[in-house]
């Protein structure tokens, strides 16, 4: 079943703000097995010029995935989630996320296209502080395997 093209440009807002904490950053750094002290030790992070520990570059995927979840479960999109794989991922940073940040995510369906028998859907999530400062944009391209098989080209 083809994705509903009418939803190109639709915007989703995170239902509630995400609070970045030292504990979550340490847990994530442990999970990616990255011992860098700026992710763990406030004194080290301050010595490096940051206000608090910073998050690893791929940490914003936590917000990016939440946002993608909002979009792909939109019934109007008519997307078969069981056929979805992660195609591309890109981040554009204004600065690293850091402990104490409280951020919201605004996600736009920025592209829907057909490639071979698959459909590609791109979600662009702007992650900003409550004060409106841009921190990072997460661009997530999902491949819907076989999505175009019965759909229009």
């Amino acid at each position: 079943m083809a994705i509903n093209r009418d939803l190109l440009g639709r915007v989703y807002r995170s239902p509630e703000p995400y609070e970045v904490t030292r504990g979550k950053i340490r847990e994530f750094a442990d999970a990616i097995q990255d011992p860098n002290p700026v992710y763990r030790d406030t004194a080290e992070a301050k010595a490096a010029g940051y206000a608090d520990v910073i998050a690893p570059p791929t940490f914003p995927i936590i917000m990016g995935m939440e946002a993608a979840g909002q979009a792909v479960t939109d019934p109007e999109l008519r997307l078969d989630f069981s056929m979805v794989v992660h195609g591309d991922q890109r981040f554009r940073y204004s600065r690293p996320l850091q402990a104490g940040d409280v951020v919201t995510t605004v996600t736009t369906i920025s592209d829907i296209k057909v490639l071979g028998g698959n459909e590609l859907i791109t979600l662009e999530s702007e992650i900003s502080t409550l004060a409106g400062e841009h921190v990072v944009t997460s661009v997530n391209m999902l491949v819907v395997r076989g999505g175009a098989a019965q759909g229009e080209k």
């Binding site: 990255d34 700026v38 570059p57 981040f91 940073y93």
Partner: protein, 142 residues
């Protein structure tokens, strides 16, 4: 924070030392918990095979994180990354044994830009297969 690599010391062609990162089943469980990505194909062999995969596969984002570490360790300051993007070209299959899989990551400077920025092309392989394609990081150096 200032980077440990200086813009003036880097040339197009400068290589980032190759690193090997092991990925075992336990690492996938830990990453699932930390990231919130509990997709079954990352921990359940039966389901992974039923959807046509060779077995349990690593989260693409875990591979992206390991490849990013090559860059952040080289540059010295994770905050120096301006842009980072990857394409997931093949899955990292993680066998149910004590060794798991290995992700071998290397990088090379392909462009010097203004504002002390350089572009690094990243290569990641597992079991001889290219698992990331068209992957680049843009970093701002001291």
């Amino acid at each position: 924070m200032t980077t440990t690599v200086r813009y003036d010391d880097v040339e197009v062609g400068t290589e980032l030392p190759e690193q090997t990162y092991p990925v075992r089943r336990l690492d996938l469980i830990r990453y699932a918990g930390a990231s919130g990505d509990f997709n079954v194909i990352h921990w359940n062999e039966r389901v992974a095979k039923s959807v046509g995969l060779p077995g349990v596969i690593a989260h693409g984002m875990l591979t992206m994180a390991e490849a990013g570490r090559l860059v952040t360790d080289w540059v010295g300051d994770p905050g120096a990354i301006v842009e980072y993007g990857v394409r997931f070209s093949a899955p990292v299959v993680v066998p149910d044994d004590d060794q798991g899989a290995e992700i071998v990551v290397s990088g090379k400077v392909t462009e010097k830009r203004g504002d002390n920025q350089v572009v690094i092309a990243i290569t990641a392989r597992s079991g001889g297969v290219k698992v990331l394609a068209r992957s680049t990081a843009v970093v701002r150096l001291a």
